[in-house]
């Protein structure tokens, strides 16, 4: 199991190193031909057009969406629809809830994954390899299969429509542990830890003063990935939260689609509102997120 990027010596020179193999790798010297660009353009269009069309549909009204051909350009109803969707679907509260849920679980996962990843990457202890195998094995068990007892627990504790019911189960992230381990194996030289040890630093101090500073770039990327994942989580929040009680954005948006008035432009306005924050994050940090996903890719 290794990450697929070349080894960075320190976080600072990571970015240039990431780009460098491009020149050396297979096909890398070869410039893409026109056909490659055409295929890429089509694929990019296929990826982006549905999102753009969400905005187009959200800017029209229901009657216009029930005509053929469908609209290809923006209408004038965007802000009315956004306003209606915002109020109809309880989206204001949903945004606050989701931001809180995704923020708390992303931060907790990043913290716990970093200390566990550090232990697996750099500390010696009995059972280390077996434990790491167990961590990887847990990735193969989809959390959806555990929802029934969790639902019973929530019922027992009277936690339905309460955010901790969504946050707690989301904190299990084997991917996070694996991701941080892979990064720290490469980014944190043993000598630095040994030097800190010789100075008499305890394990906890090493974490605080050596590991966290070295792991910062990977922690940021993992935080974003986990934020996206929790923000988009559907099944479990859908089971324990209700649209009119204390919804997350996904529960609220799904509720729009199941409402009594199938106003399609309104539904699209809700979908747009629920997606927009993440699209903005991707527009700003897209490069880092892409790098993070590629770095987390498993080989072997």
């Amino acid at each position: 199991m290794t990450t697929t990027l070349t080894k960075p010596d320190s976080p600072e020179d990571r970015r240039p190193r990431v780009r460098r193999p491009k020149a050396a790798r297979a096909g890398g010297q070869m410039h893409a031909g026109p056909i490659a660009y055409v295929i890429l353009a089509l694929f990019t269009l296929g990826s982006l057009f549905p999102l753009v069309w969400t905005a187009i549909a959200a800017s029209r009204d229901n009657q216009r969406l029930a005509q053929t051909p469908p609209p290809f350009w923006f209408g004038s109803n965007l802000f009315d629809n956004l306003d209606l969707a915002w109020n109809d679907a309880n989206l204001g509260e949903a945004f606050l809830n989701t931001t809180f849920v995704a923020g708390v679980s992303a931060a907790t996962i990043v913290f716990l994954s970093t200390i566990a990843g550090f232990a697996f990457a750099k500390l010696r202890f009995k059972g280390r390899n077996a434990m790491m195998l167990i961590v990887i094995g847990t990735m193969m068990v989809p959390p959806q299969l555990s929802v029934i007892p969790l639902y019973m627990m929530v019922a027992e504790l009277d936690w339905s429509d309460q955010l901790q019911a969504v946050i707690l189960p989301s904190l299990v992230s084997a991917f996070g542990v694996f991701f941080m381990r892979q990064y720290l194996l490469q980014a944190l030289p043993d000598e630095i830890i040994e030097a800190a040890r010789v100075d008499g630093a305890s394990s906890w101090r090493v974490i605080w003063h050596v590991v966290f500073p070295a792991a910062r770039p990977a922690m940021a990327v993992l935080g974003m990935l986990m934020f996206v994942q929790t923000w988009n989580d559907f099944l479990w929040p859908f089971l324990v939260l209700t649209q009119n009680g204390n919804p997350t954005v996904q529960v609220a948006v799904a509720g729009l689609g199941r409402g009594y008035t199938p106003d399609q432009s309104l539904i699209m306005a809700g979908a747009l509102l629920g997606t927009l924050p993440l699209l903005i994050v991707f527009a700003i940090f897209g490069k880092q997120i892409v790098g993070g996903i590629m770095q987390g890719a498993v080989k072997g």
Binding site: A26, L51, P142, S202, N232, L279, A283
Partner: protein
């Protein structure tokens, strides 16, 4: 768990600082020696036990919210449990299992999960491979393509499903309009069996192809250049290089993506639930795109039989174990052959 370490951390440094102050020539006092011994014991304890402290939160969380619920699902599947009173459990043995195995909709859902799984996974991974190959060339604005193809991944299941419901609309949807332009009659994407399964799969394909392309691209960039150089020296064409160098090197990654996509496909829930919102958990008027995940939800939360839903969950788990074993055997064969 960790507060004890802070004191241990500070003291050896202090001790080093105090060393020059000691009377030269004289050995450390008895008291000093005892203090040192205590410190080194504390030090050893720290080195020995703190790794376990660092990994334990993950395992505790997994125990509480992963493993225990999974095992408890097996226990609940042997009981009659109602949604309205989830703590009252009556032992019924294997009756939940015989009930679902006798239910035609269970087999229907299993079949749908398999076909939707194939329709969504195979084209998705093939396209991802092709796109990754193109991205591996020297390109202008390569970052732009990568970020753009990741945008669907940022879109939630709920938003994407509602959007595609509209695009796949029978009378006014954009897709039927485009097909009409090339002379194909309107397709009833919601009610026709295969059309609806293709439509649901399209949502999955749209969301995940770019992500998988990036995974493949990462693996392609890790292939050593000299493999290609020697292949080129042997006179291999670009296509031959792709089939004889790239693909074999990607085998572990391909296996990984196949496993992840298979698990994802076996759990499919939100897309079919929202694809026909009026039918909800039944997955279309004829259950034509009801997946196992949806069937589980229908039994547990619509029909309120949590025990039966547990039996479905446990059956899905056993299926995944079989897939895992098959995967293990295949990967061992592959490793042995290469």
């Amino acid at each position: 768990m960790t507060t004890g370490h802070d004191t241990a951390a500070a003291s050896p440094a202090k001790e080093g600082g105090a060393a020059p102050g000691r009377p030269s020539g004289g050995g450390p006092t008895e008291q000093e020696q005892r203090r040192r011994k205590r410190q080194s014991r504390r030090w050893q304890r720290d080195v020995r036990w703190s790794p376990y402290a660092f990994v334990s939160p993950f395992f505790l969380l997994f125990l509480a919210f992963g493993l225990f619920p999974l095992i408890y699902t097996g226990w609940a599947s042997l009981h009659q449990v109602e949604l309205t009173a989830p703590t009252d459990m009556d032992w019924v043995g294997l009756r939940n299992y015989t009930r679902i195995f006798d239910d035609e909709f269970f087999w229907n859902a299993a079949e749908n999960t398999l076909t939707i799984g194939i329709i969504s996974t195979v084209p998705q991974l093939l396209m991802a491979m092709g796109i990754a190959h193109i991205l591996n060339y020297k390109l202008r604005a390569s970052t732009f393509y990568r970020v753009a193809m990741l945008a669907p991944y940022a879109t939630s299941i709920a938003a994407a499903s509602l959007l595609f419901v509209l695009l796949f609309g029978r009378d006014y949807g954009m897709i039927n309009w485009a097909l009409g332009a090339v002379g194909i009659d309107n397709i009833d994407w919601q009610n026709d069996k295969w059309a609806s399964q293709i439509a649901v799969s399209t949502i999955v394909i749209w969301r995940w192809t770019g992500y998988n392309a990036l995974i493949y691209l990462a693996a392609m960039q890790a292939i050593p250049q000299d493999l290609y150089e020697s292949a080129a020296l042997d006179g291999a064409s670009r296509w031959q290089q792709f089939f004889h160098v790239t693909l074999p090197s990607l085998r572990p990654t391909i296996l990984f993506t196949v496993v992840v996509s298979t698990i994802g496909a076996s759990q499919l829930f939100g897309e079919p639930l929202l694809f026909d919102a009026n039918k909800g958990a039944s997955g279309g008027s004829q259950h034509q795109f009801q997946t196992l995940g949806l069937y589980l939800y229908e039994q547990g939360w619509v029909n309120q039989h949590l025990g039966r839903a547990s039996a479905i969950a446990w059956t899905m788990f056993l299926i995944l174990i079989v897939i895992g074993i098959v995967n293990y055997v295949i990967s061992r064969r592959l490793r042995a052959s290469s």
